[in-house]
């Protein structure tokens, strides 16, 4: 896993962080993963060792098909961070995956073409040791 990125690169997760490390390890194989509790069936996201739905829970990892609906989004037009400043304008949204979890992600699309409730599919931006999920309109 990479260390701290330089300011001109995309900021990445910081490790060690044992709750989210398995999620990011799976991204290296272009697998988008989430958790379901073996005891109560709760869909868990972001990833955790415990189940927030029941005290006896055991979240297990599953692969998502990576398809979902754009719940909401914004077009970021000002960001002081050097990496993002160079990308302006770009779209960030919340995606409701078909398996029942919601995640934040960048939406790789012309800002003028994006709309709420649009269907999107996961794609990947590769980095050393992990890939960042990016969603594209279907």
């Amino acid at each position: 896993m990479p260390g701290q990125p330089s300011p001109a690169e995309r900021p990445l997760p910081v490790f060690p962080e044992p709750d989210t490390e398995p999620f990011w390890a799976a991204t290296a194989e272009h697998r988008l993963t989430y958790q379901v509790c073996r005891a109560c069936g709760e869909v868990v996201f972001y990833p955790r060792r415990h189940c927030p739905g029941c005290t006896g829970g055991e979240p297990e990892w599953r692969d998502s098909a990576g398809r979902g609906t754009l719940y909401t989004f914004t077009v970021v037009r000002q960001n002081g961070h050097p990496f993002f400043r160079a990308r302006i304008p770009y779209v960030v949204g919340l995606v409701d995956l078909d398996e029942g979890f919601r995640m934040m992600a960048e939406i790789a699309a012309d800002p003028d073409s994006v709309h709420v409730d649009q269907r999107v599919t996961v794609d990947w931006e590769d980095h050393p040791g992990l890939s960042v999920p990016v969603f594209r309109p279907e």
Binding site: P11, E17, F23, R87, L94, R102, M104, V116, V132
Partner: protein
């Protein structure tokens, strides 16, 4: 409703929006001294201290020494801009429990002098935390986070940019009646300080769609202090007490398919109004944390001033102006949008609500009897803290 157990007896808002070299601690101490004088009290009377550590790490260890007070109660709840409403709720509870008689709440910040880019700076941090690890790569700014709520609100209910803009128009109108706000806007470098129109708001540049520059709070220096006292102390003070009639606290975070247009205010408001035995339509003054226009719109709905989804039409037509019948009057000091936002605005909501109940606002609602101060801290679209305080003349 039981007799109120505590009242705001002393207030002070730092007059400037550019602190001229004072430190956040110096601002806090100056405001504390002025607020104690306002109540006719001194440092020696303070027996409870509430601090959000905005002036440095773990200030609970050092702030009482700096002021020169000896508290029996110490509370360091730090939940962003709503911290001061939480402090007021906790102070009322601590006083009701007999643990304190004179509670001191303070705030100080030099965000403007420090050139802090609060809304559009880097917020990803470098901590190895689960939520941060899942969001850091995507470059969502603070403005963008709130903008996602606005976008969903528009899609779900048909809320229009014009309706959101009305909130900024109203708060600027109120600010132009407030000499400290007018001087402050000039002092922080805003050219052409004047009333604005819906067209001005929608003509300002987009920061994060659909939020425009004039829908975002300013970044100022500033601070304030609030002194909350027991009924026995209130009986002897020279100011008119603003009684704490009800309080409610809640947190909001994204769980499953939660509707992000409904904020934690729906729960904190229900709790506070229930305790006070009041209904939203009875409220004269709505001091609602206006980090952005959408914050106000969603919270007005969640507190019950309008049905969910109907905040847009509710806010239209100047309804929230101090001189418009059918109110409530919104952020009569000019709000965070146009008067004072040094990063964590919560204390000013309590201060202006108290001014209104004393009859001392620069946009005074004649005979104002009941006010709500609602703080929102954190990020509305992901995780946020909400606290509702109901105040009355008693």
């Amino acid at each position: 409703m039981a007799a109120p157990a505590a009242a705001i007896a002393g207030i002070h808002e730092f007059e400037k929006r550019a602190a001229g070299g004072l430190s956040p601690l110096q601002i806090k101490a100056e405001c504390a001294a002025r607020a104690l004088e306002d109540a006719g009290l001194t440092w020696a009377d303070v027996d409870a201290v509430y601090d959000a550590s905005e002036a440095g790490r773990m200030q609970g260890l050092t702030i009482a020494e700096y002021f020169g007070v000896t508290p029996r109660v110490l509370d360091t709840t730090a939940v962003g801009g709503s911290s001061y409403e939480f402090h007021a709720a906790h102070a009322a509870r601590d006083i009701a429990a007999g643990k304190a008689n004179v509670a001191l709440l303070t705030y100080g910040s030099t965000a403007h002098s420090d050139r802090r880019a609060i809304g559009t700076g880097w917020r990803g941090g470098s901590e190895a935390q689960p939520a941060a690890n899942m969001e850091r790569p995507y470059g969502l700014t603070l403005v963008g986070n709130y903008a996602m709520v606005a976008r969903r609100h528009m899609a779900q209910y048909g809320t229009t940019p014009e309706q959101l803009a009305e909130i900024a128009v109203t708060t600027r109108r109120h600010a132009m009646r407030n000499p400290q706000a007018v001087a402050g806007l000039a002092d922080i470098g805003i050219r052409d300080v004047r009333e604005i129109t819906v067209d001005d708001v929608l003509g300002s540049r987009l920061i994060a769609d659909p939020l425009h520059l004039l829908e975002c709070c300013i970044v100022s220096d500033g601070g304030g202090a609030v002194v909350i006292v027991s009924p026995a102390v209130a009986a002897g003070i020279r100011t008119r007490p603003a009684w704490i009639l009800g309080t409610g606290e809640a947190l909001g975070y994204p769980a499953g398919g939660a509707d992000i247009t409904s904020t934690a205010a729906a729960r904190s408001g229900k709790e506070a109004f229930g305790q006070a035995g009041l209904r939203p339509e009875e409220i004269d003054i709505a001091m609602i944390y206006d980090s952005f226009t959408i914050t106000v719109l969603a919270i007005l709905e969640d507190l019950g001033f309008a049905k969910k989804g109907e905040g847009g039409p509710f806010a239209a037509g100047g309804r929230l102006a101090f001189d418009h019948p059918g109110g409530p009057a919104l952020n009569t000091d000019g709000g965070g949008l146009s008067s004072n936002h040094p990063g964590m605005r919560g204390i000013f909501l309590l201060i202006e609500a108290t001014r209104q109940l004393r009859g001392e606002s620069t946009a005074q609602v004649p005979g104002a009897r009941l006010a709500v101060a609602h703080g929102n801290g954190g990020l509305l679209g992901t995780r946020h803290a909400a606290c509702t305080i109901l105040l009355g003349t008693g």
